[in-house]
């Protein structure tokens, strides 16, 4: 397989899709995001499976929190991803739920500086 495939086309397509989907995303839903509901939705929709219960990430998925990406970008990625993460269409994850999940991720506190954690400086 080496040398026989370029991913450029895929990336360009994703950028276009991200922009379009971001514009289409309901700003009303974003404003209504509830961290409490989002915490429940985060578990119900399986986000925790790859990203951990507090969005810390791991080998199976990148960190989502603290400092999550903007809601529009998150929405575009979640709806259209073609990578290791399967896409979530609106039929299985509503805009409202996604906004709640984003609000939950935004509510998570900053991580401690690893230099202040003795176990990470052994």
């Amino acid at each position: 397989m080496r040398g026989n495939r370029t991913r450029l086309t895929g990336y360009l397509l994703l950028v276009v899709t991200v922009t379009a989907a971001g514009l289409a995303f309901s700003r009303a839903a974003a404003a209504a995001g509830s961290p409490e509901k989002g915490k429940t939705a985060y578990v119900q929709h399986g986000c925790w499976q790859c990203h951990g219960f507090v969005g810390q990430g791991g080998v199976t998925g990148p960190k989502l929190a603290p400092d999550p990406m903007p809601l529009e970008a998150l929405s575009a990625f979640v709806r259209n991803t073609r990578g290791g993460m399967p896409p979530y269409q609106r039929a299985i994850l509503s805009d409202a739920d996604l906004a709640d999940i984003h609000a939950y991720l935004q509510s998570l506190p900053k991580a401690r500086d690893y230099k202040s954690i003795p176990l990470l400086n052994q």
Binding site: G3, R5, G46, P87, A91, L119, N121
Partner: protein
């Protein structure tokens, strides 16, 4: 087959004939009553579902069988023990079974239960996995015994793991071949024409000896084949008759062949020279090692080669190949910059230089892409090319290699190092040194990023896998520790953060990814570490433990100290994500059925109390620990228990990965 000698008949036959006669009489007595009643004109009274035992039944069930006459002469199985003892096999983990009762008796009585010492196991898969884990510490194989049919079927997954992980295990299955004389009923259910066929696809060699002399040759040959790289499991079918019959009192006494190790195969000298030329002239050579270091010396050789070239090393972790603290240690992504890649005993060269994404692309079969530059040259040294079989697909996808060598990597490294030294032109030496400086900078930056990532979710509940691993490390770091298993995927934190520098710091994984390896393999490895005075620690996943938790009892029974820290994420997490992925591809909401993961993938409601399970089998245990702040003190207490000689388990609720 093995009963050509018409000499003294084994009295077990007479005994079994008696039992059969008693059984038949019992059956006749039981059956006669309703038949007789059917002939009577009046309706028979209601017969209770369980009749009181007749005299015959009572005798058959509770009576003491007639003492069989002692078989004259030296039992054949005593000679078999003599053969086994010549090879210095220290332990024999096994689940007892009648088809090997004769050699069992010889081992513990005639052999004094030493070299090998019988270890009571509660599942044949556990016995094989214990031998698997033991070898990766001790470098010496163990043998196991099992029923040739039902026991071997239980053992087969463990044997497949050993096959894929290139680990020698000597499996001996009892089997009663002679259909004319073997006991009817259960022993016949437990017999087969060719028990070895069950595991032939994933063993290096097998045999069915038909005489004691044949056994001696077969056993020594099996040991020799298993211990010649590429290592692997071997299988011997051991006839029950051959075990039980006495040695013949005529002719010469069988001899025991001397074991002389076979030198491992080396890569072709011309190919070694060409590989050295490519590596020496490369701008950015990369070394990737999976099972390259068979011994601690393999690590030293790999460091020598890497430093000679100032080439970064990606250790895929099949064994402890390269110190994690060395500045040339590199993450898997580093492969993208290479212009020459040397792969050493890679189990999957294709996936080293390509990636597969399990998405909806390509009509739903996923997409493939390359990780490397178009003109990157690939070199491979692998002994597995000498031992490929057709059926099971452990040889992985086909990858074109520019310089492929069928040979053992560790055995080839000394010649390759010398060839590289000779091939490096003087004018390249400054550039090579400069490459090393760049590697030091990349290593330091990578280590910083890793620690920052570990800090995320540090105080979360359930406990983050990074916190779990670093709390464990803090508890054992001042001891001569050995991480005997790390199952269930903890985001690879031990390999990313623990300063692993010794061969026994990391033992690799199962090989075949058959779940259920972690618990028994860690007990086997802990057994070897016990004899070497080391401290064994295991990160034990929940699903893995529940395949055959009886191995906890084996550890307590045989006083094998180890610290087992549960990575209890309450699910078969790999499958959690698979079912979620398929649900999304099909645009369906995953049915959770009241659990956290899709139906069929969670281990909750009820939650298993692993600490109580372990405690019931003689372990010191505590849990469930859900608050990370409580983990450190619990670990310190557990370490003291283990140092006093008892196995200890902490049940920790963890984040998924």
């Amino acid at each position: 087959m093995a009963r050509k000698d018409p000499g003294p008949k084994v009295d077990r036959r007479k005994f079994l004939t008696g039992v059969a006669a008693a059984g038949a009489a019992t059956a006749a007595a039981t059956m006669s009553t309703p038949v007789a009643r059917a002939a009577e004109p009046a309706p028979a009274p209601r017969v209770p579902s369980a009749l009181p035992p007749s005299m015959h039944v009572a005798q058959a069930e509770t009576g003491t069988p007639r003492e069989p006459a002692r078989v004259p002469g030296i039992p054949g199985s005593d000679f078999m023990v003599d053969v086994v003892k010549t090879l210095g096999i220290k332990y024999l983990p096994a689940n007892c079974a009648s088809s090997y009762r004769a050699i069992h008796e010889s081992l513990i009585n005639y052999g004094g239960n030493k070299q090998p010492e019988f270890l009571t196991c509660m599942h044949e898969e556990s016995a094989v996995a214990m031998a698997h884990g033991y070898f990766k510490v001790a470098g010496k194989p163990l043998m196991t015994l099992c029923h040739g049919t039902v026991g071997l079927q239980h053992a087969s997954m463990g044997i497949y793991n050993a096959w894929c992980d290139r680990v020698p295990v000597i499996v001996v299955g009892g089997n009663d071949l002679d259909a004319a004389t073997r006991p009817p009923g259960v022993p016949t259910f437990h017999s087969a024409q060719d028990i070895n066929a069950l595991v032939r696809d994933f063993t290096k060699w097998d045999d069915t000896p038909v005489s004691l002399q044949h056994f001696a040759q077969s056993f020594v040959r099996a040991y020799k084949i298993a211990m010649t790289p590429p290592y692997g499991p071997v299988m011997i079918s051991l006839d029950a008759g051959l075990q039980q019959e006495p040695m013949r009192d005529h002719g010469e006494k069988p001899y025991i062949p001397r074991y002389v190790p076979t030198a491992p195969p080396q890569g072709d000298s011309g190919a070694v020279k060409e590989a050295a030329r490519l590596l020496a002239s490369a701008q950015n050579p990369m070394i990737v090692a999976d099972r390259a270091a068979r011994t601690p010396n393999g690590m030293k050789l790999l460091v020598q080669l890497a430093e000679t070239l100032q080439a970064r090393v990606i250790d895929q972790g099949g064994r402890m190949n390269f110190p994690r603290t060395h500045y040339l240690s590199a993450p898997p992504t580093a492969v993208s910059n290479a212009d020459v890649i040397l792969g050493l005993e890679l189990s999957d060269f294709w996936a080293t230089v390509n990636s597969y994404t399990d998405n909806a692309g390509n009509g739903g079969i996923g997409t493939n892409s390359t990780r490397i530059k178009r003109d990157t040259k690939l070199i491979s040294i692998s002994s597995v090319e000498l031992n490929t079989k057709a059926n099971y697909q452990d040889f992985q996808r086909f990858q074109v290699i520019d310089v492929p060598m069928a040979g053992d990597a560790e055995a080839t490294l000394p010649a390759l190092i010398e060839a590289v030294k000779q091939a490096i032109p003087n004018e390249r030496k400054a550039a090579i040194e400069k490459r090393g400086e760049a590697a030091k900078k990349a290593y330091a930056e990578g280590h910083e990023r890793t620690r920052a990532a570990a800090a995320l979710g540090w105080d979360a509940s359930p406990v983050s896998t990074a916190r779990l691993c670093m709390e464990v490390y803090a508890a054992v770091k001042d001891l001569d520790w050995s991480l005997v298993a790390s199952e269930g995927n903890v985001s690879n934190w031990p390999n990313r953060l623990w300063p692993m520098e010794k061969y026994h710091h990391w033992l690799g994984r199962s090989g075949g990814y058959g779940v259920g390896y972690g618990a028994p393999a860690s007990v086997g490895a802990a057994l070897a570490n016990r004899d070497l005075g080391r401290f064994s620690v295991s990160i034990q996943s929940d699903g893995d433990l529940m395949y055959a938790p009886g191995v906890l009892w084996t550890a307590a029974k045989h006083k094998i100290p180890m610290l087992s820290v549960m990575h209890n994420n309450r699910g078969y997490h790999q499958e959690v994500m698979h079912v979620q992925r398929l649900s999304n591809f099909r645009n369906r909401v995953a049915n959770l059925g009241g659990d956290m993961g899709p139906v069929g993938t969670s281990i909750q409601n009820p939650d298993i109390e692993y600490h109580k399970l372990a405690e019931s089998m003689g372990w010191w245990a505590r849990g469930p620990i859900k608050d990370a702040a409580q983990l450190g003190s619990a670990l310190r207490e557990a370490v003291k228990v283990v140092q006093a000689g008892q196995p200890a388990l902490l049940n920790v609720w963890t984040q998924p990965r």
